[in-house]
Symmetry: C2
Subunit: 358 residues, 2 copies
Amino acid sequence: MSRPPTIKDVAERADCGIATVSRVLNGRGSASAQTRQKVFAAAAELGFEFSPLGRSLQSNSTRTIGCIVPSLANPVFAEVVQAAQTEMLRQDYQLILACSDYDEGLETKAIRTLLSKQVDGLIVTVSDAQSSAGLDLIRARSIPCCLIYNRPGNGLPSWTVDNVGAAWAVARAFAKHGHVHTGFLALRFKRSDRSRERYEGYVAACTSLGMSRPSLLEIEEQEGNLLELLGGLLAENQNLTGIFASNDYLALAAMKTARGLGKTVPGDLSIVGFDGISTGLMVEPNLATVITNPQAIGRGAASTVLAQLTGAAAPEQPDPAETFSFRSGGSLASPGPDRPDDGEAVTPPSSYQQPRSR
Amino acid sequence: MSRPPTIKDVAERADCGIATVSRVLNGRGSASAQTRQKVFAAAAELGFEFSPLGRSLQSNSTRTIGCIVPSLANPVFAEVVQAAQTEMLRQDYQLILACSDYDEGLETKAIRTLLSKQVDGLIVTVSDAQSSAGLDLIRARSIPCCLIYNRPGNGLPSWTVDNVGAAWAVARAFAKHGHVHTGFLALRFKRSDRSRERYEGYVAACTSLGMSRPSLLEIEEQEGNLLELLGGLLAENQNLTGIFASNDYLALAAMKTARGLGKTVPGDLSIVGFDGISTGLMVEPNLATVITNPQAIGRGAASTVLAQLTGAAAPEQPDPAETFSFRSGGSLASPGPDRPDDGEAVTPPSSYQQPRSR
DNA sequence: AGCCACATTGGAAACGTTTCCAACACCTAT
DNA sequence: ATAGGTGTTGGAAACGTTTCCAATGTGGCT
């Protein structure tokens, strides 16, 4: 049970200096065929592997990327993280994960910790990209960093969804079906600039399309039962014929709640979600929603960071209009007597289609 | 933009040796009040922080735990990982994540990589805990490791659900409602010993409760459309009145598919899931399922590994019977004309209740 | 005065790498 | 034969820590 062999052991066994071993095994510098032979043999016999620690100390790089997301409970982030991890693995980098739980303090603390851990780069979602103590720290160290789901800004690139464009698409869909009074439903509105972007885009779109200004249905914090809170909100807003929820989970909850209040969906209330999680297709009626591609975002963000590290060309970001596609579904129809849409899916742009695997 | 200050810089500024700085800042060994004062001042002025790299090299510990799960697309694993990460953060450890994508080869490779990265411990789900090349590697290095969702074995502890017990509970529920011919629905059966345990427990329970031996409805690989594959399976098994799905997502898909075939749920077909994901409560009828507590499992596994590292007492695992609770729901009722259950939830044991936050 | 115990301190080794550089051997063109 | 090149090689420094150990200083005791 001896500790793993070091380069010194190999050198000894191959009867040469450690510098030579390093050169041979790393394939740089010169070495005679015979020496190479001996070194390889010795390394193989001992089962030698370089210690990343010694290496990191020397090279000042850890082959490690930090990743901070609000929560993995949101399947969108779970998919992003998995895709990023997969991409990084391909390039032999490791991913260190931290969750900020939508808390700006934790967020900053996590960034600080990861920075001190000497990560080579970061992939982060912050609650507000325009003013974030954590991002300031990152910029101060000028470490490769890519945002996800945040508005790009302050010199940091971001892979995200065109929230404003998507909100317009939703507004147009509501308008097409003749809705006038609709609402925007959000959870933790204050802590997510994504949500705010969607809301602002939606307000602009609605007013500009001749609908009334959408109400904001906001759930501050999820203390207690989400369904109850929703019930209260919906009851207070009986005049609305449509609701745009800032994510699919909320949308599903809203459908459930509406039914509980004796309303039919979409007859009494139309509902549109955001994200395109696959469960939206399991309910009756199908959930109309904005389909996004977390996998492409995760992969893209990872490549962007790695490119900065390796000097490769940064991957090109898709056209904003390709970052989402609207999926119609039975949950959206004209207000009034039930006349459900058939829920046929709009085909998303092929290059950006999401392979759903579970 | 000079590089971060090192202990040497602090020593110089405080006009003392680096050994002294190390002692003072780490609070071990003695130092005069005056020296302490100077060192603290110097460190503060420079904004000094220890480099974990140098430290690790010296101490042979990285304060890093590897975590390998099949996929984050499964919300159960996403929650487990998040809970583990949170617990580790509390003790100032980092989590390195890898996904095996249900592939035993990738699984082993990931373990190998993490081991060479010098993680201090591992939290792993493998596809077969009884014969796993990766686990052998771990044991050979005798590194702290805790399994999740695997049967404990070969000396490795595991936090998991009592799959067999849960399967019995499901069988009893079906039996109580008078079902005789039921099936077990699984995806990637071969690659998950969890699924197999549930199936075996279910078979044993059914036969022992006087029901017929359940059919195995298996989806090998999800090439193509899950709903279509399911449609085929359900069509081939028209005689069944109930289906126990090995996870909630499958259960929801089965509900959807059944409706597509013109069957009512639960009238023509009762369905029970596994996991207790919150979306199960958003559909109509509510999904009957086995509720589990991924958060407790993640937290527990993390504590178990950390305890081995710090020498603390390992946290006690809950009684197997407390690792799950059966939740009745509208998707399960007596076969025949629709007479839906009201779907009232069974209260899980209080100490093991899951706070759902999203 | 002499001695010992004890607190404080810093030099140096060790952890496992990479890389600079000097040393050396060998070969070839003058 | 000699100078100059080329290809191999290993010693040593550097990366940032911790910790052993020896050296120094201080005080109290007989």
